[in-house]
């Protein structure tokens, strides 16, 4: 990695993808060895949603099999959950890395041919689809593709192929957002 020596701290270039992947793989392996489970992301948000709904409408949450699964036995707070703490770490780790590379910036990432409101609308729609897809597939890119991929999990590999398929299939229609 080359470092910049300008007066105002400039953004550092990103890490070589192979080394970043190697680092990520070692983190995943550590999770297997220490915990006997892989990484995740969407599950933590599901727990947060279930807990919030439970706090507002307890009867409604308990009557729904989906929420109930994330609420646990009621003996401990559902937020005292492995994935919730892991995702809190993800926020901190991302922030630390961004800070070290001078990449902390309030901005919107987008292609030059799309307006900010449109980009944000697409981000919200994409996020919503992601939430639905992740729950249907029992995991997202972290919990299914990365973790299940490394464990040669049948469903994870089918899932991973479909993620790439779905994204490549729609890429042409969204070229104005990114290129």
């Amino acid at each position: 990695m080359s470092s910049s020596t300008e007066i105002s701290p400039a953004e550092q270039p990103h890490m070589n993808p192979y080394w970043a992947g190697f680092g990520l793989g070692l983190v995943l392996l550590a999770s297997f060895v220490i915990m006997g489970r892989g990484l995740g992301a969407s599950g933590a948000f599901t727990t947060a949603v279930a807990t919030t709904v439970h706090a507002i409408a307890p009867a409604h949450a308990e009557g729904n099999a989906f929420y109930a699964e994330y609420l646990g036995d009621g003996a401990t707070s559902p937020l005292k959950d492995w994935l919730v703490f892991e995702v809190l770490g993800v926020f901190l780790g991302g922030f630390l890395s961004g800070a070290l590379a001078n990449r902390l910036k309030f901005t919107i990432e987008k292609g030059p041919r799309i307006t900010n409101p449109r980009r944000l609308l697409l981000a919200a729609i994409g996020g919503a689809l992601m939430g639905i897809g992740a729950k249907l597939a029992l995991g997202c890119t972290s919990g299914q593709a990365l973790t299940g991929g490394a464990l040669l999990n049948l469903g994870s590999w089918a899932f991973m192929m479909c993620v790439f398929g779905g994204a490549y299939g729609l890429a042409w229609f969204l070229r104005r957002a990114w290129l």
Partner: protein
């Protein structure tokens, strides 16, 4: 080494949250390092401009895959204890397609959007808000789509088992495939994206053995090792430490008394598995509440999780001991035998003998306690003199199946209500 450490109870739940946080920091750090906090860079994958999504993901996958394989093969990591998300093929295909659409429309996936939001990207924050909306919507319609989410259930299954291939061969094939894909990706970046392979690329136009190339050769080499080294699961290398087994047997460290077991059942403990190794008929006639029936012929390495405590019983001491030996030799560390088997269970727990009239008060109190436990299991007392009255015929009442009103039904062990382990 007994890994996964958590599953062998080397630390508790509270500590696991600290571990979660630290692992999360590592995860987030490398996601951001890779440039995954930037939606435009992520989306570039799908226009062949910059294929770092593929490179990072597959490098991570093959690193963890090869590592887990080797640790498993060396007997350091019990791979069967690493949680495998069950396969529901059709819902996962549908979910994958929807998720892929969300990826190209929104620019992130859940993990990367956290990193993006954490570094100040407003689109990442909006994406997260959208995801919460999606989860809420999914949850609300869940009751009407629950049936669809459960179709084509295939259980916890690996590619190796599904396609009858050796695990090692698949490890080798995936490593080879990954590096093939990386070379193709660099060619695509060059010819479609117009980006020449620079420093750190596999195809960097230098003739030296660069670090990235060395990395590729080492991983491929380990893949070749996997090709010939066999299964990484522990059952394939069952080993018997005869001395340890003999010592455990001598110290009776392998036994649970009937009174102990009764206490566990009364307390409703659920940290053990009680296994009846008699045939199904005898099991149906009577069994200790909470027991599962697994005749000797049905015992194999996947009848329980390897870190579970198992208690065997039968009316045949030899069969129980054989089950104990079989399962110990498969590498289960905590296996126990109900001392004296069903016979002692009946004598000591179900039908305790009343003390003779005029016995010491201590014996009377002891008997009252035993009676309470016996009642819990639907038993009753036997007179102190019955033995004398009828020395030949068995004194024990014939064991009947627990009556419907029996106070200790089969579900005396509360069902484990655990939160899901997956994503």
């Amino acid at each position: 080494m007994n890994a996964p450490f958590f599953k062998y109870a080397l630390f508790g739940d509270e500590m696991s949250l600290v571990v979660a946080f630290v692992i999360g920091i590592g995860f987030g750090f490398f996601l951001e390092r890779a440039g995954f906090g930037n939606a435009r860079l992520l989306a570039a994958q799908f226009y062949f401009r910059d294929l770092r999504v593929l490179k990072v993901m597959f490098t991570a996958i093959i690193t963890a895959m090869v590592g887990a394989y080797l640790l498993g093969r060396l007997g350091l990591l019990d791979l069967s204890l690493v949680y495998l998300t069950p396969t529901f093929l059709v819902p996962q295909i549908a979910g994958g397609l929807i998720l892929g659409a969300g990826f190209i429309i929104g620019g992130y996936c859940p993990g990367t959007s956290c990193v993006s939001a954490a570094t100040g990207r407003i689109d990442g924050m909006v994406y997260l808000a959208g995801m919460i909306g999606g989860l809420l919507g999914f949850a609300e319609v869940y009751p009407s789509i629950e049936r669809f989410t459960k179709i084509t259930a295939m259980g916890q299954i690996t590619l190796a088992r599904q396609f009858h291939l050796s695990y090692g061969f698949l490890v080798f094939a995936v490593v080879l495939m990954a590096f093939g894909a990386f070379v193709m990706a660099e060619l695509a970046e060059k010819f479609i994206g117009g980006k020449e392979p620079g420093p750190g690329a596999l195809l960097e136009p230098v003739r030296t053995f660069t670090p990235v190339r060395r990395f590729a050769v080492v991983l491929t080499g380990l893949g070749v090792v996997a090709l010939f080294a066999g299964s990484p699961y522990r059952s394939a290398l069952a080993q018997v430490d005869t001395k340890q087994l003999a010592l455990d047997a001598l110290r009776a460290a392998d036994q649970v008394t009937a009174d102990q077991l009764a206490d566990w059942l009364v307390e409703g403990r659920n940290d053990y598995l009680l296994v009846d190794v008699r045939d199904a008929q005898s099991f149906a006639a009577y069994h200790i509440p909470g027991a599962v029936n697994l005749p000797l012929s049905g015992l194999n390495h996947d009848f329980a999780q390897r870190n579970e405590r198992v208690v065997f019983y039968s009316d045949n001491a030899i069969h129980t001991a054989q089950a104990w030996f079989l399962i110990r030799s498969l590498g289960f560390p905590s296996v126990y035998i109900l001392a004296g088997g069903l016979e002692t269970w009946q004598e000591a727990v179900l039908y305790p003998r009343a003390p003779a009239a005029g016995a010491a008060p201590k014996d009377q109190i002891d008997f009252a306690k035993r009676m309470a436990v016996a009642k819990f299991f639907g038993g009753s007392a036997r007179g102190a003199t019955s033995e004398v009255a009828n020395p030949v015929a068995p004194v024990l009442p014939k064991l009947a199946p627990p009556s419907p009103t029996a106070p200790a039904p089969d579900n005396a062990q509360p069902a484990k209500k655990k939160k899901k382990e997956g994503c």
